[in-house]
């Protein structure tokens, strides 16, 4: 049986590495609530990292469902009937499982690491992005090699972590994980490219770089010729942000954060009214 300490240590260890941890519990068995529910801990990269639901096949089925929930970033908590799970899982012997574990319900809780935003560049856009990202509960780090820009004067919010350092040194000093989002908005395309090269092979969830279409295409083309993998080039969001006609730094920040939400949650990026009766009326 897992102790609370086992669970909190596993949580800390996985979340620190920017990984999600699924906590799976039996909340109903034979129509009854178990007094002390059996529990299983699972992460995508390590696999089962503690506990058991008491049966090998049951654990395997639960793990496959947990993996699907972890990968679907909209999912945080779900309750599932065992027989539904088994029926919709091609790898499971659904009749056998449902027979052995009648009227069972499982609770899946997906713990995700805190979202992290690394802003390269403390100029007007960087400052506006920091404000917008706070609204969305990101942990924010700002890097600028100019001390006057990576400063409390420009970033008065004490929760913003400031690094007044060379871009490469600062990025190498940070742990970039799948919970990291990188917004590259330095004072010029030369520094933008330096930052991009440094993070392009990282496991970051999002990498966006500011710049005109022409300039960003030039950089992308140069990297391609140098042998950077196409998959790595494809995931770069450059020019950064959704097209909402943004002009001011604040509007650009909103377009960037909207794109980050889109990447995480999925969606079309279109107005919700673009389909349906209102669209025809327009």
């Amino acid at each position: 049986m897992l102790t609370p300490n086992d669970i909190s240590s596993a949580l800390r260890a996985t979340l620190d590495q920017g990984r999600a941890l699924a906590l799976i519990s039996i909340i109903e068995q034979n129509g009854h609530v178990p007094s002390r529910p059996a529990r299983l801990l699972f992460t995508e990269d390590i696999g089962v990292c503690g506990g058991s639901l008491g049966d090998h096949d049951l654990d395997a089925l639960a793990v496959r469902h947990a993996l699907a929930l972890i990968r679907d970033e909209r999912q945080e908590i779900a309750v599932a009937d065992l027989h539904h799970l088994a029926e919709s899982d091609p790898e499971a012997d659904s009749a056998a499982l449902a027979g052995r574990f009648p009227r069972m319900r499982l609770l899946f809780e997906i713990n995700r690491p805190p979202l992290e935003l690394i802003i390269c560049g403390g100029g007007h856009v960087g400052q506006a992005v920091a404000k917008a990202a706070r609204l969305l509960d990101f942990r924010i780090t700002v890097i600028d090699d100019r001390v006057d820009f990576a400063s409390r004067e420009k970033f008065p919010d004490p929760a913003v972590h400031l690094m007044a350092d060379d871009f490469i040194d600062a990025l190498r000093g940070l742990r970039i994980t799948p919970a990291s989002h990188l917004v590259i908005v330095t004072r010029g395309h030369r520094h933008d490219e330096i930052c991009l090269r440094e993070v392009i092979a990282s496991p970051a969830r999002y990498i966006g770089m500011i710049g005109s279409r022409r300039r960003t295409t030039t950089i992308r083309e140069r990297l391609r010729r140098e042998g950077v993998f196409p998959q790595q080039l494809h995931r770069i969001h450059a020019p950064i942000g959704l097209d909402i006609g943004a002009l001011t730094p604040e509007e650009i920040a909103l377009a960037i954060m909207a794109e980050i939400v889109l990447v995480r949650r999925g969606g079309t990026g279109l107005p919700k009214s673009a389909e349906g009766p209102m669209a025809r009326a327009r």
Binding site: P4, N5, I7, S8, L23, S25, I27, E28, S35, E76
Partner: protein, 114 residues
Amino acid sequence: MSLLTHTEIFQEIERSRLENRKVAVATIVTTAGSTPQRTGAKLVVYEDGRMLGTVGGGCVEADVWAEARQALSENRSRLCRFTLRDDPDVPPDEEGMICGGEMEVFIEVWGGKA
């Protein structure tokens, strides 16, 4: 309002365990219809009635608290279903605020002897 994280919850359970105290942890596991509550929200309830966290406030929080105390005294985890229904004779007010949702709350008792 920031909700308690799982890490904080389990640290709290561990702290109580070291002090030989039981705690109940209530989690909103499903909601249907219109409720102000959010799935995943957690409330820790101690034997002396103190609480930590929130399941979203309102009258439901008091009901969850009462169920959690009951679970603690019986030393058994439980699953509770709540229907949030306003007086059916009263029409929704002008803001259209109605609260006719349902939710399931899993209350787990930690510590003590199973």
